[in-house]
Symmetry: D2
Subunit: 273 residues, 4 copies
């Protein structure tokens, strides 16, 4: 949680004087930088910057717009601490949903959960207890899914162990707006039953991966990953049990980054500032 009133996000081809120009414009408009980070990607020649600041956002925007245009800067100014309108999709496993609802309610995770959608009614009661509308959406009914995104006004769609594959067409509607948690350390163990795959391969570490969903299944840009040590005595069920915990944490961290407007998507990469 930041004290800042605004988050400025800047992305553009690298060129001399970018930091100076952005911060000078902020300074001239009375903006007070609380936190700033930037990254020059030498390989792609792209520049990314995130600034959290207090001050008059409208005045800054007015000054910055023509400058940004002249420098081909892609930018957004977003109110800090405005909860992100979010739709959570689930199937039968509830550990990620449970964690998101708890942390959103406790105020640790700045998400405004507008609805829970599911292809089973297993979690209907859990949503009810948290006073979140629950919608049963039949598998493959992407028209219904699309209506749900629209009716809830969700900016972000979270696949919190949603075991349905979304079509490429659906994914393209919401680029950089659908986050999935995959229960393996991608790119190892793509596809179904990754814990069984991991056990069969005898790995000594398992992991989880939060990524943006694209038309290429399990190939979307990676946002966050983490791993945990396992051993031969844990069968596939043991790996699943241990894995639940790491899935939960990795997804939550990815959602924090999103809500704090830290993620920059560039090709098949992410830059987290």
């Amino acid at each position: 949680m930041t004290k800042a009133a605004h988050i400025l996000r800047v992305a553009c081809p690298d060129q001399p004087g970018l930091v100076a120009r952005v911060t000078q414009c902020l300074f001239e408009n009375g903006g007070n930088i609380e936190d700033a980070a930037q990254f020059n990607d030498n390989l792609s020649g792209h520049f990314f910057m995130r600034v959290a600041f207090t001050g008059d956002g409208a005045a800054f925007s007015k000054s910055f717009a023509p400058l940004a245009k002249s420098l081909s800067i892609d930018w957004q100014l977003i109110p800090a601490n405005a909860p992100v309108k979010t739709l959570v999709l689930v199937s039968r496993e509830d550990h990620c949903l449970h964690d998101i609802l708890y942390h959103a309610k406790a105020g640790h995770l700045p998400l405004d959960i507008r609805a829970v959608g599911a292809n089973h009614d297993t979690m209907k009661e859990q949503a009810a207890r948290a006073d979140i509308p629950f919608h049963l959406v039949p598998a493959k009914d992407e028209t219904a899914l699309r209506k749900l995104v629209e009716s809830t006004g969700a900016e972000l769609v979270v696949l919190a162990r949603y075991m349905q594959i979304l079509s490429g067409d659906f994914c393209k509607l919401y680029p950089g707006r659908i986050i999935n948690i995959h229960h393996s350390f991608l790119p190892g163990f793509k596809g179904a039953k990754p814990y069984h795959q991991a056990y069969a391969r005898g790995v000594k570490i398992i992991g989880a991966t939060a990524h943006f969903v694209t038309a290429d299944l399990d190939e979307g840009p990676i946002i966050e990953q983490d791993t945990v040590r396992v051993n031969h005595s844990m069968g596939p069920e043991g790996l699943k049990r241990i894995g639940r915990d790491i899935e939960t944490r990795v997804l939550r961290r990815a959602l924090e980054y999103y809500a704090e407007r830290r993620i920059f998507l560039h090709g098949n990469h992410t830059v987290i500032l």
Copy 2:
């Protein structure tokens, strides 16, 4: 480093009373258990046990042999703390070799390094400084390699960043006796240039894998793995630099397990006791 005089290794199909029979035989022959571990693999129905003990190894062996035969037990009795005769193969990168030589000499790693073999003479001087014979073996000359294994009496062959692919025939000569360090978290990023692959994929964590070498390239049974967190600001060279450290540690741990006779190979798995 254990106080025990002997390491007993037992592997067989699971059956009632195995632990009782093994430990009873040890007890009756005056063996004193310093450390013991066993594992029942419920999925494969196989049993594994490792016992470090002090006492009269010959007396135990004499008693245990007929019992083991009647129960179809595959077993070895090995002197504890006897350094493992080892051949280290390298190419141009020296970090793993350097670490092995240091820890073997310091007495932390019970290996008796008989020789360093290489397809380049880059590390000739490094071997000389450690008073270890150095042999240049041309790439693909597996006859020379085989002679080197034989002439050094090596039980264990360590590929310490040896960048040549060994033939399936060569691998089959030394099952469970060749350990390789792969500079990725297998099964992700098999093949060449894994750090470049990892960078291109935008992973947030990289790893290393020590495994037994089999005829299936990068598919041998995994002995040890570890991971380390990275970020977007590290290019492929940065990942390589960070990766060196983890390769070094993962390989060293795998060699410790081997030298302490902890690794049981079963199909494409390992059990580490």
Copy 3:
């Protein structure tokens, strides 16, 4: 979760043939070992063993009792998978309670939560939602606390961020039965406000410690610990936020160890088998 029907726990001064005698007695009574671990503490000369087995527990007990007596073995035979009757004490922070209730209900944590006790009514509703009786116990009223332990039949008392100091007399009533989560990496930062202490000291890593409660505040035997990396940009509030997650996990793991009967208390140590 184990398939075993019984957990056998053994502790005694080390002497030859212990493993043989225990496993022989199991074998003779038709016990089938599912999992076994033992530890010889060379420094204290004490021996610890935990065996999970299927078979006739009563027959084993009858045979083992005289043997155990003759060898001065301290032992228990406990039904595996019998949930531990537990009283959870809390104050105002709910993250640990929330996690325990979720995992107990989901069947991941074999605890039978009989009641939640608190010195504030902050969490009354949370307990109600989980259908767990809630009791308000005024601070320092240890008579009421004692009655609560008795009336609930609790074997285990969990201090899930309970911010009251228990008297030495109270602690002595329940040796090895009260588990606390301390929000620092003990023995660093004992006492109050450990995150503020950690920030002031500029540490690069924070941690949490689950320990048995004894009359010596923050000095009880450590059951589990873990750490997480932090940096200068996180103020005391940031450390608290990050710390909540690790407190939750460390406490849960300690409760798993307890419920699986893995913890052996010996002097100021624990052995986890």
Copy 4:
């Protein structure tokens, strides 16, 4: 290793427009920012900034000097990639020295090791093999130590397991220039024999701490820390063995931060940019 030619370090009381002014001055003098990081310490009201840039350092300095003076900025402009002249002090344990010499020689660690000083001649040969002058300095002879710092022209003094306590007077001569590796996770286990202390306390994790040396023993500003999981089966000697590895890595990382000019010392804190 950066491509940048210069490292600019800035520290001052926080005030509006600092980033704008510094980066504007760089821009006007043709400086090209390769990497920049800044931190506003809200609690102390202090601002820190590190910029790696290519371009004309002399021109920038000439412009920046009057600006810095008017804003009370404490600053340095340092050639990037100029190895730091370093004196390494050791006693009998060689693992940290060994690692530093290897990585400095391999070009991974930009240190120019001018000499090794020791209160034992145990490591004379090791220094010789690396072609580094070795000096025997009797314990407590701080006059000799001071002469050694001066004659080697060392900017940095590294206590690589140097088991002598330096006087407060000596420490004050070199503020922010002496780095020690302490073999515990400070502030836990200050003083002698930390692994024995850790074992006696039954901790489940051990650690190491690199810190600047001040007159307050084991209380200097922390630069880097790390931890590793241990268990009851590792006696004090086992903890020492495992600890060596983590000491080595933590010290190396602290030296990397120093050599890359990332460490800002502020009161009893460090900020690592």
